[in-house]
C-alpha cells in the first residue's frame, strides 16, 4: 500500500469502529423497548425495525456492501426476492392449516358443583 492508501485505509477502519457504537446503541434501544409498558403489534414492529437497522449496519459496514461489485449485488438481489417471496407466501398462508393439524386449546375444566 502507498502511504496515502494506508491513511485512507486507517480512516475507513476508524469509521467502522464508530459504526460499532451505533450498532451497540441500536441493540441497547431494542432491549430498552422490551421494558416499555404495553404489548402488541406496534412494539413488535418497532423491535423488528430496529433489528433490520442493526442487520443493515452489519451488512453495509462490516460486510462492505456499501462498495461492492455488481455481481455481488445481483446475487443478493435475487436472494432478497426469493426470501421476500417465501416470507409473503408464509404470511398469506398462515391460516391454511391442513386437516387435523389445527390447534384447539383445551377447554377449561368445569367449575365444581356445590352439592348440598
Amino acid at each position: 500500500m502507498e502511504p496515502n492508501d494506508i491513511a485512507d485505509f486507517k480512516r475507513q477502519i476508524r469509521a467502522h469502529l464508530s459504526a460499532v457504537l451505533l450498532l451497540a446503541a441500536l441493540v441497547g434501544l431494542n432491549v430498552g423497548v422490551t421494558f416499555l409498558p404495553g404489548e402488541g403489534r406496534l412494539r413488535v414492529g418497532v423491535q423488528i425495525g430496529l433489528a433490520f437497522l442493526s442487520g443493515g449496519l452489519v451488512l453495509t459496514c462490516f460486510m462492505h456492501l456499501r462498495s461492492e461489485k455488481t455481481m455481488i449485488y445481483a446475487v443478493l438481489a435475487l436472494t432478497c426476492v426469493l426470501l421476500a417471496a417465501m416470507m409473503v407466501l408464509t404470511w398469506v398462508a398462515r391460516h391454511d392449516h391442513p386437516a387435523m393439524t389445527e390447534y384447539h386449546p383445551a377447554a377449561p375444566p368445569p367449575a365444581p358443583h356445590h352439592v348440598p
Partner: protein, 197 residues
C-alpha cells in the same frame, strides 16, 4: 498446479473467485435461516397461547451479553484483517486470537443457557416455542463452531501461508471475516425475535 484467481481479480466480475463463492454460500445460508424464520412466523401466528409459560424463562441479560460478545468479535476480526492489509502479522495474531476467545465465550454462555433450560425441564419437545428456539439457536451455534474452527486454523497452522503467499492469506482471512459477520448478522435477528418479542 496453480488455482486461478485466488488473488488476481477476474476481468468479468472484478472479484477473486473465493469472494464470489463465499457470497453465493451466504446467499444459500440466508435462504436456510429465512425458511426457519418463516417457520417461526407460522408457528407464532398459529398458536394462540404461543408464549404461555415459556418465553419469559429466557434470560434477556445473558442474551444481551452474548450480543455484545458477538459484536466485539466482529470488531476484532475486522482489525485482524486490517492488520494483514497493513502487513502487521503480530497484530493479526493478537486480534484473531481475541476473536477466537470471544467465539468460545459466546459458545460457553450459550451452553450455560441450554443447561439452565434443561434443568428447568425445557426441551425441544416441551413447547412449540422451545422447539423453534433450540432449532434456530442450535443451528446458529453450529455456524459459530464452524467459524471458530476456520478462525483457529487461520490463527494456527493455516498462518504459514503468510510466509509464501501473503495476499492469498489476507483474502482467506477476509472470507472468514465475511462468514463471521454473517453469523453476527443472523444473531441481530435471532436475539430480538427469541428473547425480546
Amino acid at each position: 498446479m496453480d488455482i486461478p484467481h485466488t488473488v488476481e481479480l477476474r476481468e468479468d466480475t472484478g472479484l477473486y473467485n473465493g469472494k464470489v463463492g463465499m457470497w453465493l454460500f451466504l446467499a444459500s445460508e440466508v435462504m436456510l435461516f429465512g425458511a426457519l424464520f418463516s417457520s417461526y412466523v407460522l408457528l407464532r401466528e398459529s398458536h394462540p397461547d404461543w408464549l404461555h409459560g415459556a418465553a419469559k424463562d429466557l434470560s434477556i441479560f445473558w442474551g444481551t451479553v452474548n450480543t455484545a460478545v458477538l459484536i466485539s468479535s466482529g470488531i476484532t476480526i475486522l482489525l485482524a484483517w486490517a492488520a494483514l492489509k497493513l502487513r502487521d502479522f503480530g497484530q493479526f495474531k493478537l486480534w484473531m486470537g481475541a476473536t477466537l476467545v470471544l467465539g468460545f465465550l459466546f459458545l460457553f454462555i450459550k451452553g450455560t443457557e441450554y443447561a439452565a433450560k434443561f434443568q428447568h425441564g425445557h426441551y425441544p419437545n416441551t413447547h412449540t416455542f422451545y422447539a423453534i428456539y433450540f432449532v434456530l439457536t442450535g443451528l446458529h451455534a453450529l455456524h459459530v463452531i464452524g467459524g471458530v474452527a476456520v478462525n483457529a486454523w487461520l490463527w494456527g497452522p493455516g498462518a504459514r501461508l503468510w510466509l509464501t503467499e501473503p495476499e492469498r492469506f489476507t483474502n482467506r482471512v477476509e472470507l472468514a471475516g465475511l462468514f463471521w459477520h454473517f453469523v453476527d448478522l443472523v444473531w441481530m435477528f435471532l436475539f430480538p425475535v427469541l428473547y425480546l418479542l
